[in-house]
């Protein structure tokens, strides 16, 4: 199945590359390449595919490493409103004790409330629904996230705060958990060069497993516009505190295609 999804993803990339439109390459979406999101949806009417591959080296195995392959389709369904649907596959689907599970289907809606001004930050809210469609999937998840973006000249600061309600939890799992991320993005080389955006954040994620301490880490990534329609990204990070299963080092790379 994993191979099939990768093939489909590659086919989509090839199929749309020739007809794709200019993409908002500075737009930060979860996982591309870091978890930090900005308060902006994709443009009204735009369709985007975001996919890639990543790995995490785990502090305590087995396994000692994990690969993951996310894919998400986004649609600017209404002005300031973005719909998304996607999933992530893991190389060790039975070994993950966190949620979502490998193959869980995640749908989300992100709404931006306002235009950022010189004084007023941009605010957005995102609602994500996780369906237990994946390997060992159980229980639904409903996450509500608030996003704030405030820019100072070309430097943009972002704050993400989320809480996920977990239904169908087992005795060892929490009924809910929080996630926070605080970071910044900057267009390296602007104004003359605006094809690269550097992004970094610090984050705190509460694990699903009861008794495990919150994972705290940092990430840094780069989004680079390859063509008007394709953005390539790469990022790395570390969880320097947290549960036994934390990842001292992880990385991801991927593509965003707008059409």
């Amino acid at each position: 199945m994993r191979r099939g999804i990768v093939v489909v993803a590659l086919w989509i990339i090839v199929a749309v590359a020739g007809v794709a439109e200019a993409i908002d390459h500075k737009n930060l979406d979860e996982g591309r390449p870091v978890r930090l999101e900005d308060a902006y949806p994709i443009a009204h009417g735009e369709i985007a595919i975001e996919t890639g591959a990543g790995f995490a080296l785990l502090k305590h195995g087995p396994p000692n490493a994990r690969g993951f392959f996310p894919i998400e389709v986004l649609y600017g369904a209404l002005p300031n409103l973005q719909l998304g649907v996607g999933s992530t596959l893991f190389t060790d689907p039975h070994a993950t004790d966190d949620r979502p599970k490998s193959g869980d289907l995640r749908t989300n809606v992100l709404y931006n409330f306002n235009q950022e001004t010189l004084t007023l930050p941009a605010f957005a809210a995102k609602l994500t629904l996780t369906a237990p469609t994946g390997v060992d999937g159980h229980g639904w998840g409903v996450e509500l996230k608030g996003i704030v973006t405030k820019s100072i000249d070309r430097l943009s600061l972002h704050f993400n705060g989320a809480y996920e309600f977990l239904a169908g939890s087992t005795r060892t799992e929490r009924d809910g958990r929080y996630e926070f991320a605080l970071g910044a993005s900057y267009p390296v080389g602007a104004p003359r060069f605006t094809r690269a955006t550097l992004v970094t954040d610090v984050f705190a994620d509460q694990p699903v497993t009861r008794g495990e301490s919150t994972a705290v880490g940092i990430e840094v990534g780069l989004r680079y516009q390859l063509t008007p329609s394709i953005v390539w990204d790469v990022g790395i990070g570390t969880e320097f505190a947290g549960p036994r299963s934390r990842a001292p080092f992880f990385g991801a790379t991927g593509l965003s295609l707008g059409f």
Partner: protein, 525 residues
């Protein structure tokens, strides 16, 4: 006429007359309410409000000059000896030599016209006479009076001429509101809020999309460069008015354009302050530019029924809240008579005309596209782009007014008048916006700049004109098209049509531009 003046004993006076002709004749229309005097009925030369060189913008009339009896008496003596032969003893333009002039001297008794003339502009014209453009190109042979009259004598002549208008007080803003310019219109029902949704929209989809990038890549790169040029200028002007800094920014834009940028620049990253200060204007620019790009794609595509798609794209565009009206607005008078008007042109002439060169290309491309299919366009476009690059290498600072769609692309303006008008209005909005940013003395804070911009923007918005026309007083008088307008006004050197470029009859783009007889469009749509 000129020969007579040259041979006359009072040749110096004749040359002064010629200078004043160039100075005053064009002001006739500008000083009048166009509704009161329809240029269709009685075409009159309009005001060539030419750029005052920096060395004269710093000059100012001495306190009391205008009413000092000794000065006025000295001015009268000089005027009677050197000017009256053509201008008439009371400045009515009825001197004996004027009878044989092809262009009659204007009347200095025209109070409205005189009231609009700034002292520094007046001094410049008397001082430089026919040696300055665009008057030199008009054939003026008037010597530069800075060589024969002291500056005090020149001021004295000007002060005396001023009395012909019937005004006995000082020639200052307090007594001549025309010097201040037309006030920004008060709000007329369109309001803006600090809390608005972002409303970022995607380019309309269709079979035509991406055709320019695919089939006319160099043109695509040029447009990418132009996008950068507009954004970089706005951000630079928001941070400085220093001549050197502005010139550096201009050269950075030229470098950027000549680098053939493969990817459209992210304008929010190029101009973050502008986009967060005046997002309504930014959206207005963005959507109009997207409309531009959609039409270029359409005309580069093999879509058969382009007219239908054009209508679809036009309707889609006009439905947007910040869409620009397709009513032809009065660019040359009503929209360019604000207190800040022409400030950017006069202070940053190279950058201003470089931007006008962008607008010339954006217009010219359309008529190339209408000449044939994409193969034909691929054949012709390099010549047009090379011509445009000449303007970038040496900005056509002799242009006094922005290029208009009917001039550069007459066939497109005829066949697709709504879009042509929208783009002319768009380009004028750029000028208004740059003028505001160039006048930090009038608009010292970001808030003041924003307030000024938001008083002007509604004039341009389609929702300000349809269904209820809130800004009818900003329409071009009589519904004239630029073709008639251009023929009517004395506009100085004008840009060529793209057909002249393709035919090889256009004047070189990288040399000083001179006034010429503009031939009729070579192609009919």
């Amino acid at each position: 006429m000129t020969r007579k003046c040259l041979r006359a004993p009072t040749g110096i006076g004749c040359t002064l007359l010629l200078s004043l002709l160039a100075l005053l004749l064009p002001a006739t229309t500008a000083g009048h309410d166009p509704k009161q005097k329809s240029p269709h009925v009685e075409p009159a030369p309009a005001h060539v409000h030419a750029t005052v060189p920096p060395e004269y913008t710093k000059q100012s009339a001495a306190l009391g000059l205008w009413t000092d009896k000794a000065t006025l008496e000295r001015g009268r003596t000089i005027y009677d000896a050197q000017c009256a032969i053509c201008h008439g003893p009371r400045g009515a333009g009825d001197g004996p030599a004027a009878m044989s002039l092809e262009l009659k001297p204007p009347s200095l008794q025209d109070a409205a016209m005189v009231a609009e003339m700034t002292p520094e502009y007046w001094l410049w014209r008397v001082s430089e006479g026919g040696t300055a453009e665009p008057y030199k190109s008009k054939g003026s042979i008037m010597p530069a009076y800075k060589d024969t009259l002291s500056i005090d004598d020149r001021w004295a002549v000007i002060a005396y001429q001023h009395t012909f208008s019937g005004h006995s007080g000082p020639h200052v803003v307090a007594e001549h509101p025309e010097l201040r310019g037309r006030s920004h219109p008060a709000p007329r029902g369109i309001t803006f809020s600090n809390w608005v949704t972002r409303d970022h929209r995607w380019q309309p989809r269709g079979a035509w999309k991406w055709a320019v990038k695919r089939d006319l890549p160099q043109l695509y790169y040029e447009f990418n460069g132009i996008d950068f040029g507009h954004a970089h200028l706005a951000e630079t002007l928001l941070k400085t008015r220093d001549q050197d800094a502005i010139e550096r920014a201009r050269l950075e834009v030229v470098d950027f354009i000549f680098s053939s940028p493969r990817v459209p620049p992210d304008e929010e990253q190029v101009a973050p302050t502008f986009n967060r200060l005046a997002w309504e204007v930014a959206k207005t620019f963005d959507w109009a530019h997207i409309f531009h790009r959609s039409l270029y794609d359409l005309f580069a595509s093999d879509v058969k029924d382009k007219e239908t798609v054009y209508r679809k794209l036009l309707d889609d565009y006009l439905a947007k809240p910040e869409a620009i009206t397709s009513h032809r607005l009065d660019h040359h008078v009503a929209l360019w008579s604000f207190p800040e008007s022409k400030a950017f042109r006069d202070r940053f002439g190279k950058f201003n005309t470089q931007i006008w060169a962008y607008h010339w290309l954006q217009a010219a491309v359309y008529d190339v596209q209408l000449l044939g299919d994409v193969k034909k366009q691929q054949e012709l476009m390099p010549k047009v782009i090379a011509f445009y690059h000449g303007y970038l290498r040496r900005p056509p600072v002799e242009w006094q007014f922005m290029p208009m769609m009917p001039e550069a692309a007459p066939n497109f303006a005829t066949g697709f008048p709504e879009a042509a008008t929208i783009f002319d209005n768009l380009h004028m909005l750029h000028d208004n916006f740059d003028d505001i940013l160039a006048r930090a003395d009038l608009f010292p804070t970001l808030e003041a700049k924003r307030a000024a911009i938001l008083k002007i923007l509604p004039i341009y918005l389609n929702r300000g004109h349809a269904p209820t026309d809130l800004y009818a007083d900003f329409h071009e008088p009589g519904g004239t098209s630029m073709g008639a307008h251009g023929a009517m006004m004395n506009m100085g050197p004008r840009p060529p049509s793209v057909h002249e470029v393709l035919a090889g009859t256009a004047p070189p783009s990288d040399e000083p531009q001179v006034e010429r007889q503009v031939p009729a469009p070579a192609h009919k749509h």
